[in-house]
């Protein structure tokens, strides 16, 4: 299925006409889940018919597998993920003191792999990294998003908020033009959601696969004809910090289903 530029161009005019965004009031916040049909919600809710669970199960297997020169499994250091990883994904990205900047969950997992397991790095968006991320994030399913109150994150979060408001691409649209000012309206065939990062990594029917939040953000950038930031780029992590702050208190859904 190729792009449908007419839909986007048509809407660019309409959307840009709307005045600069006010934040969505807390009472009006809706996960993308709530905008889906009952059929897709059922697909997400029932873990035995949710295709995202295949990655979670893969991740569970990888968690147990001794890896790298150290020959230690994730479980060897972290034990039972149900306990040690509970709530962890809900408070990422977190500040990494050694790097002097925020790191997202996939970045933290990669770090453990290369530095602690002394294993080959897992590329962003590889099946194995997605599976481990999904498995770890699944331990937070149902828990509220809980962004850390770490002052060192503040400048990065502020930069994410600014990016979110900045018009980009040939269509000259900001994230906020769609997700704050026009959520619930239709763009082409899809309903514009509020851009809450509650479900990642998630199974997107369009991808027919599990994908990360960064992949989703890159899709939106390509959608407005902007050059997307590279996977792992600091800007994507800053955007994630902002999105997580906007969604504070909302329930984690990993692995969610989205159209």
């Amino acid at each position: 299925m190729r792009g449908r530029p007419w839909a986007l161009l048509l809407l660019a005019a309409v959307l840009a006409a709307a005045a600069a965004a006010a934040d969505i009031p807390e009472a009006d916040r809706r996960s993308g889940y709530e905008l889906m049909s009952p059929e897709l919600r059922a697909m997400q809710d029932d873990e035995l018919s949710n295709p995202g669970m295949f990655s979670v199960l893969d991740g569970e297997r990888l968690w147990q597998e001794p890896g790298g020169a150290a020959g230690t499994a994730c479980a060897g250091c972290h034990g039972d993920a149900e306990e040690s990883m509970r709530g962890v994904a809900a408070r990422y990205p977190a500040f990494d003191a050694a790097l002097g900047r925020p790191i997202d969950l996939a970045g933290r997992i990669s770090q453990c792999r290369t530095e602690r397991q002394e294993a080959e790095p897992l590329p962003r968006e590889s099946e194995a990294l997605l599976a481990l991320s999904a498995f770890v994030a699944h331990q937070s399913r149902g828990l509220p998003i809980d962004p850390p109150d770490d002052p060192r994150l503040q400048p990065f979060r502020a930069r994410g908020a600014e990016l979110y408001q900045t018009p980009i691409g040939q269509l000259d649209l900001a994230c906020a033009s769609c997700h704050d000012d026009n959520w619930g309206r239709r763009l082409g065939g899809s309903t514009i959601p509020q851009a809450h990062p509650t479900g990642y990594p998630l199974y997107r029917l369009e991808w027919q696969a599990l994908g990360s939040l960064q992949r989703r953000l890159r899709n939106c950038m390509i959608g407005v004809r902007a050059t997307p930031f590279d996977f792992g780029a600091p800007e994507l992590i800053e955007l994630e910090l902002h999105l997580m702050a906007r969604a504070a208190g909302m329930a984690m859904e990993t692995p969610a289903i989205r159209p």
């Binding site: 299925m1 792009g3 530029p5 059922a42 082409g188 065939g189 899809s190 369009e206 027919q208 890159r218």
Partner: protein, 135 residues
């Protein structure tokens, strides 16, 4: 005036009624007994939930043998053929299918007595807005 031949759909696949006729071997198909549960509007055609239920006691003497699902406008008309047996309790099958575009879907049931029953439903398939293969 001779009538124009009906133009073939894209991909030159056979039209839906022809596909159904091939499945029933030309036997008559009645509308009824079959319920096709399908949302009239789906958000993405890559995994469209569908449920087919046929009125049948599912006994040795009176049961559904096969249920076929066909589409009208995919490159190929077949979706699935389900084989059912007495003792199933209900003649009910659910699955997820791909629909390339808005179109009709048909479910045709073959009964133990050799009769055919069917139901049709129309689906509007919306397309995802922000996808990655634009370039």
């Amino acid at each position: 005036m001779p009538s124009e031949p009906t133009p073939r759909l894209a991909y030159d696949r056979p039209p839906l009624d022809e596909v159904i006729r091939a499945f029933t071997n030309g036997m008559a198909v009645r509308t009824g007994k079959v319920t096709l549960d399908l949302s009239p509007l789906v958000e993405n055609g890559n995994a469209v939930p569908v449920k087919v239920t046929v009125e049948s006691p599912m006994t040795e003497a009176d049961h559904v043998r096969r249920i076929a699902l066909f589409n009208e406008r995919n490159p190929q008309p077949d979706i699935a053929v389900f084989h059912l047996f007495p003792g199933a309790g209900r003649a009910e099958v659910a699955t997820r299918m791909r629909l390339a575009t808005s179109q009709k879907v048909a479910a045709v049931a073959e009964m133990a007595d050799g009769g055919f029953w069917m139901a049709e439903a129309s689906v509007v398939v919306t397309l995802a807005a922000c996808i990655e293969d634009l370039i």
